[in-house]
Subunit: 173 residues, 2 copies
DNA sequence: TATTGTTATACTCTATAACTATA
DNA sequence: TATAGTTATAGAGTATAACAATA
């Protein structure tokens, strides 16, 4: 078993010039030609994070025209499908912390994408409603999101796409 | 179709006291009882991110005793399995940016978990090697990571676990 | 007393530009 | 000229404590 690796995969021995041959055998100093990441690839957390980042990278590019970052998109999407939802409900649904939602809501309000109306039967709460502009934007943005995440644009079959969604939800729901 | 929702799921109408009945029908102000997140749940990016965060949450707790955060764990794991790997190779393998790796390496070096030796045939590069302490720590930490991410501890069958890993790698590799 | 929304704040993570030493 | 490693720095994301108004 070569000293340069603790794995079973064959690893090329470091390239050594003849002039260094007498020195090179003393210290355990070797070079790596191909990085072995097989251990990390056996961990679900690592793979889920890498996959999420890969998809979000595409998402960022596609959503530039709508001026929506991922969290803004998900907040507007929930408001779009749940007019009158409160900040607290949003935080619970999207696993956000209340202080971090405040600035987001203010920014989306300032852009004219949502309005804040009194809650019908809780004076502490505020209902979040999409404006017509917000509804129009989200109709386009959600269509674009669906296109990006289509099975074939990710190299998956429709069945694999469905399976992946189900298994991921089994993990976090 | 109720005005309070654009989805097909039946949504409870807001609770109204009789005294408000004459006012409540004028403005389109409604309350939401159950938040509908079905659209987001059809997006792979959203689900991958939520699943990754759920697993990483468990990871953070379990790795506290080793003093390793996720990125530190993955960096040490790659060094553990690839002694002599360079910073540049680490960045490529883990999708990190070089400036963000510098502090990590310095910190792990200061903790005595790795040593930085001259690269055998590139004077610009530095080879990263685990110390005996680093090797001992990673042997324990990797075992703990495997236990956390076992199929049954995530509510999956072994077959589902394998399928999930394969499909995630199809997306980001 | 508990909850909604908010402010202030700190810490981590991520990203870009620019420098040095070597190839 | 190009690459490895580094510095400085800015921005986004995430976290806790504490407060006012309302339930």
């Amino acid at each position: 078993m070569p000293r340069t690796s603790r794995t079973s995969r064959p690893i090329a021995r470091p390239v050594r010039r003849n002039a260094d041959a007498d020195l090179a055998d003393l210290p355990e100093v070797s070079a790596v030609d191909q990085v072995d990441t097989r251990f990390l690839q056996s961990l679900l957390g690592y793979n889920a994070r890498r996959a999420a980042l890969a998809i979000i990278e595409r998402f960022l590019v596609r959503m530039e025209e709508f001026g929506l970052r991922p969290v803004e998109f998900s907040v507007m999407s929930v408001i779009h499908h749940n007019p009158g939802v409160t900040s607290r409900q949003l935080c619970a649904a999207l696993n956000l912390l209340p202080p971090n939602l405040v600035g987001l809501i203010q920014s989306l309000d300032a852009r004219g994408l949502l309005t804040r109306l009194p809650h019908p039967h809780d004076g502490r709460a505020v209902g979040l409603h999409p404006t017509p502009e917000g509804q129009a934007l989200m109709q386009q943005a959600e269509q674009a999101a669906l296109e990006i995440e289509e099975a074939k644009s990710l190299g998956l079959t429709p069945a694999q796409h469905r399976t992946l969604l189900q298994l991921l939800q089994k993990v976090y729901l």
